[in-house]
């Protein structure tokens, strides 16, 4: 069986490529505008409420679920989603993830903001893959204006859409995974699952100090800007950037020592106190089993039925 080739005029190309990009851009801009408008309505919004403390308000099954079961189940489900071959199954996974997000009442804006972070990468896949996937027999190809190298492969488009759907489904699961328990509790759960405690402590401290270091870097960058520094393609810029990074490293190193001193001064002897006592009960295992059953059904549908 050979490929099915459709010839269409070249001017369709901008229509087919630019229109989706424009639609995506418009969607992103619209979402941003909506978010800003909501902020403006509220004179002094409390943006600084740490997202990972939302579990204090949450009462869903995910908030109450044992963190170890939650991590294991969501990770297994994520691997299952990543292994899906068909768009329909991937879209079903998106629906499942979305349902979970709705169940735990994740604000739509926050979910969208997380997805927006992926939008650029996924948009690039959706544009590039249809034109770069090698044609196989049975593929439907669209040739624009007789230019052979400018061939759109519908299988590539389908593949890109499947990857995008899988990515969206997994990204949406990160919200239930991370925002339904404080990070220290999630990391404590990971430790109980065998992750070295030192690694968990490093993640916890990195999460705390990434803001401090980025703030320091921004202040240093501002210090350079007020003295006229602009990035150019010359060796002076390279030297300045190297100095900047070196100084940032030195300051980070010095801060690390000071933080360690502060920890020791308050009695730290290599272990952080347990944030919670973890207790496994039957309902935790039941939820785990139910979710994994859904994952298994998804695999069966993807691999056998579709």
């Amino acid at each position: 069986m050979t490929e099915i080739i459709h010839h269409i005029p070249l001017w369709y190309l901008p229509l087919l490529v630019i229109l989706p990009i424009t639609a995506l851009w418009a969607g992103v801009a619209g979402l941003r505008r909506t978010a800003r408008r909501k902020t403006a309505a509220d004179r002094d919004p409390d943006w600084s409420v740490p997202p990972l403390a939302d579990e204090k308000q949450g009462g869903s099954f995910l908030h109450k679920w044992d963190v170890r079961c939650k991590i294991v189940t969501i990770l297994i489900f994520s691997f299952v989603v990543a292994s899906l071959d068909h768009l329909a199954a991937a879209l079903a996974a998106v629906v499942i993830s979305l349902s979970v997000a709705v169940m735990i009442r994740v604000p739509a804006a926050r979910l969208m903001l997380r997805l927006l972070a992926l939008a650029g990468f996924l948009g690039m896949l959706l544009v590039v893959m249809p034109f770069t996937v090698p044609p196989h027999s049975g593929d439907t190809l669209v040739v624009f204006g007789g230019v052979e190298w400018l061939t759109l492969n519908f299988r590539g488009l389908l593949l890109a859409a499947t990857i995008a759907a899988r990515a969206v489904a997994i990204a949406m699961l990160m919200e239930p995974l991370l925002s339904t328990a404080p990070l220290p509790v999630t990391l404590h759960g990971l430790c109980r699952l065998g992750v070295p405690e030192m690694a968990a402590q490093m993640v916890l401290l990195s999460n705390r100090y990434v803001h401090v270091f980025s703030h320091e870097a921004r202040r240093m960058s501002a210090g350079m800007q007020v003295r006229g520094f602009r990035k150019r393609t010359d060796t002076a810029t390279l030297r300045t950037v190297a100095n900047f990074l070196g100084m940032l490293f030195v300051r980070s190193f010095e801060r690390t020592e000071r933080v360690f001193d502060a920890m020791r001064a308050r009695g730290y002897q290599g272990r952080f106190p347990e944030p919670v006592k973890l207790r496994l009960c039957a309902s935790d295992l039941f939820i785990c089993l139910a979710w994994l059953t859904v994952a298994a059904a998804l695999v069966v549908w993807d691999r056998i039925i579709l």
């Binding site: 803001h211 202040r219 210090g223 007020v226 003295r227 100095n243 001064a265 730290y268 952080f272 106190p273």
Partner: protein, 609 residues
Amino acid sequence: MHETHEIREPRPASGPLLFKVCGLSYQYPDGTAALSGVSAEIRPGERVALAGQNGSGKTTLIKLLSGLLAPAGGQVRYRDKPLAGENLDRGRLEIGVLFQDPDDQLFMHTIIEDAAFGPRQQGLPQQEAQLAAGRALDRVGLLHLAYKAPHNLSFGQKKRAALAGLLAMEPQVLLLDEPTANLDPGQEQVFLDLLKDFSGTLICISHDLIFLYELCQRAIVLNHGMVQHDYTMRELVSQRRTLREHGLDFSFRLVVAPESPDAGPDDASCRLRPVSAKDPGRALVQLQNYCYRYPDGTPALQGIDLLIRKGERISIVGENGAGKSTLLSCLTGLCQGRGEYLYDGKTVTGRTRKRIWRKIGMVFQDCADQLFCSTVREELSFGLRQLGCTRAETAARVSEALSMVHMEGYEDRVPLHLSGGERRRLALACVLVMEPELLILDEPTAGLDPRGEQLLLDILQKLHTTLLLVSHDIFFIQQLTRRTLVMHQGRIMEDLPMQAFMEDQRLGDLNGLSCMYRLRCTRDIRALQHEHEHTHEHQHLHTHPHRHGDMVHEHLHEHTHTHAHRFVHTHPGRDQSHDHAPRRYHEHDHAGHEAQPHEHMHKQTDKTA
């Protein structure tokens, strides 16, 4: 000549020693001696100020007292046992150390977790630790922010949260390193109240002796890693000569403010004309209805209307988080808000905003933020390279700038290795070398010792440029500026001439700028430093050879006599009465005293000559 004698104020009641430090020494890894031969004893309940210039070894001593560093020589004893092993583990749970930068100390995810960290290490169950943390946060007024992440707090809040982390452990000892650096007066007062309420032993490092004056009873002065003096606090602040010797003389801050609105620097050439409606200078910066929101939408500046004329010297005051630094960022083009921004009569657009650095120079609050080169020369040349100056011009301007900040000969030094005061002056030189039309200073005195402050003040008073100063330091504001903008919650609430600002009592309540504590301490210290010549009859306990009939001998004895004393002080007014503070040190001659007969009881053990 008779011996100098000393009558000390009563020390706190004697009791068992809490810390005993004997011949303590410490060396940095590069071999530099940080402390050598330090000995001191501290008893429970004492409140000790550790004073000394930048680099005198104060922080190192605190680290040694808390067991964070191991001494190279000598010993630290805590509760009569060496501070090591089990005693060190115990000590760490009883000794709270407050670091200078609160970000170093708040390492947990939320401030309640952070406050509960110490109690958990003390072995308290989770519930009790949370309760202790909640109580401590309540004491520092942060209970409503218990579940916030530290990076979402303002600097003052972080500082209080760090203190809460210590108070939750109910420590016996608090070691504080510059607890009030960079805090607005309102937050400083909160800190002062909390520390006054603390019933344990307090050892506090600060360059701000006015802050320490009422808080501490005892002062240990370190110099080049050695204990130079161990006084009562009143003795320390009263002795200008000692303070001057150790770079701690803050007496320049006690000078009465000039009453005339155009009174300014001593150098007449630097004196600026008073701003008046009849004689307005050229408008340099104009902001009209200027607003700025942080990327997350929080309003930072709202409806700012500001006019800065060429040659003006303006200060901006306001509590932490009032929007002062954001306003500066907008002026320097680092942030762009909405509204009209005119520089020298021209609208600052996106394009001109990128070139505004040629006209406006800014010294940041933390000068380390703008020092990133490997040598002082490179640091100073950086801006000039961006301006496109020739090598010859760069060299000339670099040496001129270094001379302005009294740093000649520092060209090849590494900025990172300079002291705090030197780095601050270098950061200023980096800006001055570019000859800005408008100089912006953000908290220039933060972390400086009094000598560094005085040097900086001298430099700034000689500058001719238009100045915009953001500071909590009322003294600097008073000395350097003629007009004050009061900011509160992102708005300019008042725009006042300096005199009116100083007299406006309402602003203290609005902006946490109340300086009643400082004024009270300043008044007391001025009385202590009061010195003039006068004669009165008094008793001396001293030793010198004297005669009893044919017998001449020398021993410690007390007698009454009259002679002149010299006291330095500021009189409140010629006709107003004032008290002379009791003096404890003075040197004097007793002319002919040896020949004077006098009677007193002798013991057999008296030394005879």
